[in-house]
Amino acid sequence: MIVFLIRRTFQSVVVLLIMSLLVFVGVYTIGNPVDILISPEATQQEHEAAVKALGLDRPMWEQYRVFLTNALHGNLGDSFVFNEPALKLILQRMPATLELAFGAMFIAVIFGIPLGMVAGIKHHSWIGRAIMSGSILGFSLPTFWVGLMLIMLFAVIFGWLPASGRGETVLLFGIPVSFLTVDGLSHLILPAINLGLFKLSLTIRLTRAGTQENMQLDYVKFARAKGLSNTRVIGVHVLKNILIPVVTVLGLELGNVIAFAVVTETVFAWPGMGKLIIDSIDVLDRPVIVAYLLITVTMFIIINFTVDVLYSILDPRVRLGDVKS
């Protein structure tokens, strides 16, 4: 376990380093932010002053070196637009996105696993088929359209739930969260469903495939031959086995949901990181883009690590010392 931890940490640092270089070079080539930032009527002197102030007159490798040195001190640069540290800007908006992402995953797991198991066990009956047909819709309908339809139905026609914003928040360990207030929760429901729908379909499909496969195996028959009730055979024996692939995939999907909640955040005007990155890309706010991508990579590394640990808890045949990659 300790060997695993040390190796994993070392790998993570290498990945971050490579990633920062790629991102930096990528962002450097996409255009000059100064053209967008300063007014068109500015004089040549003003233009050069702005370039100099942002450090854009120096060669790229020099800029990268400065960036790395600052990054090692926890400073990912100041936003060109807001004149505030990019890291701070992102971290301010992160709780909103995290809350939305966890809400979406919660919906996917809470409904997806039971529905998938029912579909797997009763795969010949109408209920199994109905669940599978529903999951195809969840896969194929575009997120922005589903979001608009949800707003139309529940906010405009029925008027049950609010259409935008985060609602009232309270502080939990110093972090503002919505789901603990009634108003906040009502704001969270629609975007969480919107973002979670695709993952819900994915969970249903994964669970169904696993259930169907496992129900055929001898250990299920042996468990039944022991005289166990169906509830125990399915709820303990089968469930523990299908959780292994489900956790792996959903873990990776969690990263995706956090990093790419952009569409849902835009449709529901959810004040998260996704909206910030879209705005920053619009104005070529380099430090924010770079910081956002690095934070995303870090998040993926942390999530992957957590999945590996969870995996070893779920599957006794996996011991972390043995993981070679």
Binding site: Y219, R224, K226, G227
Partner: protein
Amino acid sequence: MTPAAVSSTSSLSTLAVENLRTHFFTKAGVVKAVDDVSFSVGTGEILGLVGESGCGKSITGFSILGLVDPPGKVVDGKILFHGLDLVDLPEEERRRLRGSRIAMIFQDPMMTLNPVLRIDTQMIEAILAHEKIDRALARKRARDALEQVGIASPDERLRAYPHQFSGGMRQRVAIAIAMLNKPDLIIADEPTTALDVTIQAQILFEAQKLCRETGTALIWITHDLTVVAGLADRIAVMYAGRIVEQGQLGDVLDHPLHPYTRGLIGSVPSRNRRGSHLYQIPGMTPALLNLPTGCAFRERCDFADDACLDQPEITEPVPGRPVRCFHHFAGEKA
């Protein structure tokens, strides 16, 4: 319907199966996996159920336990367990019998234990499914059961996962689980097929010993005559969903009455016939979906004639030796 050959003994038997038919209703047609099968097994008795792969042996076992999955269904016959017919019993009552009064051991020990649950979990749940007792007590019984089947340091092994055991050890665990609730009947479905010969011998010895000690009736399903020869009291030979012959072990092996049985015995390598070609039964096992009319063995049989176009009924040319053949060898000297 044919009269059950063994019905006279059913009241004394632990289990009496009478005219059992288990059919599978597939899209391609009805597969008669078990078709008019009758046999019985008494207290402490070991019955060897012998036949080639796909002849319906395992389905017979699953029918007794009530674990035939759709599209399969027991369509006719009786399964009398201590005189109680299991066929019409509600599912909940059958569940209560499973694992407590009737237990089963499966073929592949690598597959029968749940890979993600510890041995103690899998053993204790088998006890608690049938009795409301203290967990600690159940644990102690699980421990003792492991010790009984010859597993060293059972306390430690209880906390292990299945992948930490070898194949032979896993099969011992499966046997221990089957023995946990001291059942009256154990159905062993080729439990030694996947094991090394040396381990096989150990398991056979253990199984025999346990049955003798506890008076448990045992149905040993196998395709291997040599296994049965060293183990069973009586054997029943199955072919294409039907029992073609049964009797006391020595009688059947020394004087087989059915051509199929004779073929099976002939195809076992023997020291007495060293150097000569090993006998093979000609042809292949017929597909159950597409059986020849009349006797299913007809097309592979040296003795078949026009009479065999009709399905032979069970006769008892020698007392205690039911056989399903027009041309049985009862008159011959072997």
